[in-house]
Symmetry: C2
Subunit: 253 residues, 2 copies
């Protein structure tokens, strides 16, 4: 999974070193955040190139160590704000990666998060050092579900550590969550045509959905309300715009 040095750094710093108190155990706690959006039928994630060549110069998810005075959740928010300038978005813990040698330098346990944001909010972030890379998402049933990040020519970008695994799990989580949670709205602007929501779902699930069925179920869910407005189009009938509505007036289940 990771190249080169195999022994953890803690071992090389003294095999018989003892720690008087458990809070001195040399395990660093970090967070990695996958900032995901959808555009043109593909999922995209924000990647940064580490300034230091420690990770082999590979592209990486924004991340950082957890400060002892902050909660792990707060660390994820801080990282997202510092490295992407993004606040107040859907941010949820994904999974904790605790393999011994996931970082060849030293022992790091990383709590991975994923955030969802509409594409338009990322404009200011996309600079030289930071990029929004499209993800090559494998078919749902495929073994492993390993996800690659692609550059502008469709080549796979080398990802640091186990960050490809993290992205793979993000996609799995999104697919599972879409079945019962309204996460599609996180990737859309305030007002949107139903077709855009369907495209989001199809992008996440990786398969086409029936227009009538989708429309029927979304409207019946009570999660959307008409904005009494229409989109501006250039050669065809404009679609009605909807907005997300938190209330969920279904009977039960």
């Amino acid at each position: 999974m990771t190249p080169a040095p195999r022994k953890p750094a803690s071992a090389s710093s003294g095999p018989s070193r003892r720690f008087a108190r458990f809070e001195d155990l040399p395990i660093a706690v970090a967070v990695d955040v996958a900032l995901v959006t959808a555009e043109a039928g593909q999922l995209h994630a924000l990647l940064v190139r580490p300034t230091a060549p420690e990770a082999g110069g590979d592209w990486a998810l924004p991340g950082g160590f957890v400060d002892p005075s902050e909660s792990v959740d707060a660390a994820a928010e801080r990282v997202l704000a510092a490295k992407a300038g993004i606040e107040d978005v859907f941010l949820e813990q994904l999974y904790t990666f605790g393999a011994v040698e996931r970082d060849p330098r030293t022992r790091v346990v990383s709590v991975a998060y994923y955030a969802l944001v509409e594409r338009a909010r990322l404009g200011a972030v996309l600079q030289a050092d930071r990029r929004l890379a499209p993800l090559s998402v494998p078919w749902e049933g495929e073994a492993g579900g390993r996800v690659e990040a692609l550059d502008e020519k469709g080549r796979a970008l080398p990802l640091a550590f186990d960050h490809a695994d993290i992205l793979g799990l993000v996609v799995k989580r999104l697919r599972g969550k879409l079945r019962y949670a309204p996460i599609g709205f996180e990737l859309l602007p305030d007002r949107f045509p139903l077709r855009a929501l369907q495209e989001i779902h199809e992008t996440v699930l990786g398969r086409p959905l029936n227009k009538h069925s989708f429309r029927r179920s979304v409207l019946a869910s009570g999660l959307v309300a008409s904005a009494n407005r229409r989109e501006k189009t250039v050669g065809h009938r404009p679609a009605e715009l909807y907005r997300f509505q938190a209330s969920k007036p279904r009977k039960d289940r």
Copy 2:
């Protein structure tokens, strides 16, 4: 959420203490394992009384600190084997609890796991210091979903730290997972009547299921196969016994 001392121990050991290397950051990494089984229509979890009165003498989930030389997953397995004598069971990461003051003594980030096992495998474990406590499981839609552990008289046992939150999340996870994963079999012996599987599902979901529908969907799933055997009963028709079958010969979806 937790009583008494509010300041983390790291602060009291020197407010301006610096750490030369990030691996000396004073955050301890621990695992807590909820060992869950089902019996008589109720979920049960294994609780231990800490030998030291550090946690206020409250009942707690089996847990321990992660050793720098082992993965977090391995630590969970080790804790389960050491404190419950249980190996080779369904064991899955649940969530990582990272609030600053979840343990009033010092900063501990805990990776929670849950394990499923059939009741019969727990026999040797239930001793004076360890107990299998029934869980009072709130109704699905209920706010918070906080779960209590009950003693033999139905009174709520005081639980250490945020362990009640962990148990609440276990129940939520089980309910969600039951929809698409065959976790019911983990709680049953090798051969079982379908009625027992339905009882497991009803216990986890907290609501009755239609017998015909349940039977139909389970048999259609291809996950069970007849064991060509019947249970031994004492006054009525015996049920056919089934066994879990890994293959899943459905077309898709």
